[in-house]
Symmetry: C2
Subunit: 174 residues, 2 copies
């Protein structure tokens, strides 16, 4: 539990830069930290779109035109990426973004964690970064639309479905 504890407590500290580093201890017990993988979060938007597409492919999402993905990233209020660094190699292992009116409401979209890194608490860590950033921008209403299989995941992070009977709705063409 030591690693995740330090990861989460690390994610609670304020960061003046666009990158938050949290340290992942190697599970093989090595004491040489220079060889240990590290997990980074970043709000930098200069993302290799092909690397992002690869990440989305890995979880089975339908491909989307990169031109539109680029536009969506540009016009998102917040983008948070999660990286694994081993030595000089950096690998994109998670992504999330939010639209917002910059004042009251934000809606989180495209939350993805690479299958190799799922079930390790990293999805929660990524979402906590997103929530922390939105709260730091004084956004009071943080919303999302959850697929049925991840409703419990978001519930564990403090999200409520249909509070006071409010229903998420999607428009379908006639």
């Amino acid at each position: 539990m030591g690693f995740w504890k330090s990861l989460f407590s690390g994610s609670e500290t304020s960061s003046p830069s666009r990158t938050t580093q949290v340290e992942a201890h190697a599970t093989d017990g090595t004491s040489d930290r220079s060889l240990s993988p590290r997990i980074f979060f970043s709000t930098e938007r200069e993302i290799d779109l092909y690397e992002l597409e690869e990440l989305c492919d890995a979880v089975g999402w339908s491909r989307r035109p990169l031109r539109k993905v680029k536009k969506a990233i540009q016009h998102s209020f917040l983008v948070v990426t999660m990286w694994e660094q081993r030595g000089v190699n950096r690998r994109l292992i998670g992504f999330s973004r939010a639209t917002s009116d910059h004042a009251f409401n934000a809606t989180i979209w495209d939350v993805v964690v690479h299958p190799d890194f799922q079930r390790k608490g990293l999805g929660k860590a990524l979402m906590r970064q997103v929530i922390k950033k939105l709260r730091s921008e004084d956004i009071s209403n943080i919303t999302l639309f959850a697929d049925p299989q991840v409703v419990d995941f978001y519930r564990g992070l403090g999200f409520m479905s249909d509070p006071e009977g409010i229903k998420g709705m999607f428009w379908y063409p006639d």
Copy 2:
């Protein structure tokens, strides 16, 4: 039905300007159109915030800091207002706005119609303007969060609640 038919068919035509005029025939049967009230829709963002506050007061919404309302309007992807014009007097009778990533998703917020103008089909007309504008910008995923008492209203406009089990969720602080 003649008025609403022409109003709705008017709302289907593309408008190069930021204002769409639809004509409301007076119900007293007068043939002098210059004296008839007219309904306008506009995407202009230069809105008198006090007039908007008055509209929101009329439906019993909690007041919000005008500084934040201004910021939210500025950073919304789309703002659609509805106006009644009688002679030279223009009155704000409806409002709606949407956040978006400008590419895939939009979320509609703050839909309001003045009580004096409810139950006349004007809420539907306003929403059709919003949907039409979002579709014209190639937004495929139009979403909203509906209070229980307006779920059927949105259903009548083509919105589905919880499609494929997708749940709207709101984050609550611990």
